[in-house]
């Protein structure tokens, strides 16, 4: 049943300043008048202050926004050192300059971590995880801002921080079964992470508290930059990703990230790790639709010890459950550039579903069509023994993938081989154009048998 928006008398502005000092460029009378109903303008006078935006969020939350009465927080250009917990529904956080309106965390600068367990500049989720009283956080819009977790303190092996974090990390560990968020839209943002750019944790339970559909997320026209994973996806959710650009650079070239913390990275454009464990009512229940996204992943010998992956898209699950997820990739552009003089996994797409119980699922499936995939090992070091593979499909019995209408270009200047595709599980393929060259002389190799 629709309700009428409340009628309100004009009220004075709500102003939020970093430290209340008087040397602000803003605000002035103009700002005072710009703050109308349900809008808070935030300005940052100094970088050292902390919690400016959080205070705005807390005020908004206290106002109990509803779909009929949402609130907007407008963040004006500047650098904001804080870790925001956005645990309110019907709120939007918007900026005017997605490059230089930067919300960041950095443990080197002390004030970044009031909560040392939270180094993500922005977290979207409910705080109450108790069942059945947990409140859904939904109808959240994030637009035209930059988020940067520029230092996680330990590099690889340290906290898996992100520029933007959605959900509850414990979910995937089998603890909470919540639906912590729903209907979140992120558009026009620049999201930087020394570890990940954006991490999304969905639900591991079905039907709570609202519907049998898991959280829904729209990503559109964002630029993701990081040293590790551009996207990390865990748990049940519905993700529609359109026209986003990811730049994963393990060499410390992301602007303003702390390259001293970079060592031995995995580097992945899109990392879907751990799937659903709910009981499926709707089919498909979990999905990722990626349309027109591009992933550029690069790593060189600056990367330190070369462990893990240098991969465009990695689908990996080792969680025991009978459920499945589906991913769809269309018009995807993947470029993997590696110059690491050692052994690393080099893939454009790598689809692995290794459930630790060996559970067989006939419902996991992944479709790649219309993709252009480049994978190149540039190092000529004899220790660079890894194979370079355009699409590598493995996993348990029952996993399957379909690949069609793709162009794959793989080269290997090291000691390894170059393959367009490799598969140990079912893969349907058609209309694939590929060329492979390796250190043996740059000849084109035939497609491996699949």
């Amino acid at each position: 049943m629709a309700t009428s928006p409340p009628l309100k008398a004009p009220r004075p502005m709500i102003d939020i300043y970093g430290d209340g000092s008087s040397d602000l460029f803003w605000p002035n009378d103009a700002e005072a008048a710009l703050n109308n109903h349900n809008v808070i303008h935030v300005h940052q006078p100094r970088r050292t202050s902390y919690g400016v935006i959080q205070r705005a969020v807390d005020r908004v939350k206290a106002a109990n926004p509803t779909p009929e009465d949402p609130w907007t927080i407008v963040v004006h250009p500047g650098f904001y050192c804080e870790a925001i917990m956005l645990d309110a529904s019907n709120v939007s956080l918007v900026g005017l300059d997605p490059f230089n309106t930067c919300i960041y965390t950095d443990p080197n600068q002390g004030a970044a971590n009031a909560d040392t367990n939270r180094r993500d500049p922005l977290t979207i989720r409910n705080m109450d995880t108790a069942l059945p009283t947990a409140t859904l956080v939904e109808n959240v819009g994030i637009h035209n801002l930059r988020f940067s977790n520029r230092n996680n303190g330990k590099g690889e092996g340290g906290p898996p921080t992100a520029g933007l974090f959605i959900g509850h990390r414990p979910n995937i560990l089998g603890h909470a079964h919540t639906l912590p968020w729903n209907n979140v839209t992120v558009s026009g943002c620049v999201i930087d992470g020394v570890h990940d750019a954006i991490q999304m944790f969905g639900t591991t339970a079905e039907g709570f508290p609202q519907t049998s559909r898991p959280p829904l997320l729209f990503l559109q026209n964002n630029l993701f930059r990081c040293c590790h994973d551009a996207y990390t996806v865990k748990g049940d959710m519905r993700v529609v990703s359109t026209s986003n650009r990811s730049w994963v650079n393990a060499n410390g070239q992301i602007p303003w990230l702390d390259d001293s913390r970079i060592s031995g990275w995995k580097a992945t454009g899109f990392h879907l790790n751990e799937g659903s464990q709910g009981i499926v009512a709707h089919n498909p229940f979990v999905f990722v639709d990626s349309n027109g996204d591009s992933f550029f992943v690069e790593a060189s010998d600056n990367v330190g010890t070369g462990q893990g992956n240098v991969t465009g898209v990695l689908i990996y699950a080792n969680f025991s459950n009978p459920d499945a997820y589906r991913t769809r990739w269309i018009d995807t552009v993947v470029r993997v550039e590696c110059a690491y003089p050692g052994s690393v996994v080099l893939n454009g797409f790598q689809l692995l579903e290794q459930r630790d119980t060996g559970a067989v699922s006939t419902r996991d499936d992944h479709v790649i069509r219309g993709a252009m995939i480049d994978v190149h090992q540039r190092s000529t070091d004899p220790l660079a023994t890894s194979d370079a593979i355009g699409i590598d499909i493995g996993g348990n019995v029952g996993s399957e993938a379909e690949v069609m209408d793709c162009m794959i270009n793989v080269s290997n200047a090291g000691a390894g081989a170059a393959y367009a595709m490799r598969a140990t599980r079912t893969v349907y393929r058609a209309n694939i154009f590929s060329k492979q060259s390796n250190a043996a002389g740059g000849t084109y190799l035939a497609m491996p048998t699949v």
Partner: protein, 449 residues
């Protein structure tokens, strides 16, 4: 040759209409913020109506031109009004597409001072939060300019169907682009980008021309990109001759009342469609009416919970309904993703791409679908409907539809699942499909074409 914008000294805001208008915040702030050709609009309270309209009228009164366009900046808030832009060279922009809401809602009274009276002559008015129309409604053949209208970064919501009956009510939309009905208009591009557009019935409705007396002119051109469209019914619907370019949009078609702040009470028995084009051209320049969709994603879902009866209706990602005789449209689709998941115990047409009517001859190349993915799933075991990835239900004799480099996935918990179904010619290449139905869940071959 580029024309330089005139050099101007700062001037006070063009606030002739605002001088005594508190709703536009015409105070010192406005004077500071309003520089050349820019009006800032703020909403002090929701009960007012016409705030943005007054800004539009003020700007258009300055006779904007291509060298001297005007911008209206709408600051976050709720604006309960039905804005009409019937002029050129004007931009309506916001910076919070989530919560800068221009909306109409007949339950709240002040929703509309513009619009069209109901056909039954009642005093109710249709609720279009934004109408872009020709400068003057034509009374005779001629050229009536519209265009160079840009809408960016705003949210529009027609949250409630005016007559309260849901499907079957007069068409209304969150955004209406109206070129003047049966009379030709000269139209420069209209651009709608980076918006969130919510509709209870249509989200965006485009009324093109039906008549083309001037052979060298083209029908309205709409650039529609990077928007998030959410509705219970039709996402982007065009009727008549129009050149429609839809790029990189996300459509969420939900018939269960999950769209934020829409009136779920009014949802029942909907048809649903992501992109709908019903060409009714009667002119000779049929090749100039086209739908071009590139990189759009359409996600559709509906269940018995709210949708009511669907008998005889359809749910389809893209619908072509060429009901009128005359010339045909061109359809060029590339990089489209359709995912439809329906849980409805009723008989209806479920398709990824659906030609409902095609009364005219489509020569080869006129309707083509390239590089796209269609998924259609009926998960209700009581729903007898067949599901079809590409359903050419009715086209004219001799028509040709071309499909290349596409992938189709169809599942059906009760009826049959087909990749394609047609009575006419489909030229196809590199079309891959997998189909499973209630009979056993096996992958079937491509349907007979």
């Amino acid at each position: 040759m580029a024309i330089e914008a005139p050099t101007k000294s700062p001037r006070p805001p063009a606030d002739a209409a605002r001088g005594s208008d508190a709703y536009l915040e015409p105070n010192r702030v406005e004077a500071l913020l309003s520089n050349n050709n820019v009006l800032h609009v703020h909403q002090p309270k929701r009960s007012t109506d016409g705030t943005i309209q007054r800004a539009v009228d003020t700007a258009l009164a300055q006779n904007p031109s291509i060298e001297d366009p005007w911008t209206i900046v709408v600051h976050p808030g709720f604006y309960n009004e039905a804005v009409v832009i019937n002029g050129q060279h004007i931009s309506l922009v916001g910076y919070d597409p989530s919560n800068t809401v221009i909306y109409t809602d007949p339950k709240q009274g002040a929703y509309s001072v513009h619009g069209t009276q109901y056909p039954d002559g009642t005093t109710k008015w249709m609720g279009y939060p934004l109408t872009i129309e020709a400068e003057a409604l034509p009374v005779f053949l001629g050229e009536y300019p519209m265009g160079h209208v840009n809408v960016h970064g705003l949210r529009f919501s027609n949250r409630h169907n005016p007559d309260g009956t849901g499907e079957g009510a007069p068409n209304h939309a969150a955004i209406l682009v109206k070129s003047g009905g049966s009379i030709y208009n000269t139209v420069d591009p209209i651009t709608i980008s980076n918006c969130i557009i919510d509709g209870t019935e249509h989200a965006v409705e485009i009324l093109g021309t039906l008549y083309d007396p001037i052979a060298y002119k083209a029908p309205p051109l709409i650039h529609f990109y990077n928007n998030l469209v959410r509705t219970a019914h039709f996402g982007l619907a065009a009727y008549g001759d129009v050149r429609l370019r839809s790029h990189g949009n996300q459509f969420w078609i939900n018939s269960d009342g999950d769209i934020p702040w829409q009136d779920s009470d009014r949802i029942k028995a909907w048809k649903t469609g992501g992109i709908v084009h019903g060409s009714q051209s009667a002119g000779v320049l049929d090749t100039l009416s086209f739908l071009e969709s590139h990189g759009d994603s359409i996600f559709m879902e509906g269940s018995d919970a709210k949708i009511g009866t669907m008998s005889g209706d359809y749910a389809a990602g893209v619908v072509i309904n060429e009901a009128a005789s005359g010339s045909a449209i061109e359809v060029a689709i590339s990089g489209l993703v359709v995912r439809a998941v329906m849980d409805i115990a009723d008989s209806f047409t479920l398709a990824g791409f659906y030609v409902l009517n095609g009364t005219n001859v489509w020569a080869a190349g006129r309707c083509k679908i390239f590089n796209s993915m269609f998924e259609v799933h009926q998960v209700n075991a009581a729903g007898p409907t067949d599901v079809v990835g590409i359903n050419i239900a009715a086209v004219g004799a001799g028509d040709v539809v071309e499909v290349a480099n596409c992938w189709i996935d169809g599942t059906n918990a009760n009826g049959t699942a087909y990749a394609m179904e047609t009575g006419e010619t489909i030229n196809r290449a590199n079309v891959y499909s997998r189909l499973s139905n209630a009979a056993g869940g096996t992958y079937g071959a491509l349907a007979t074409v």
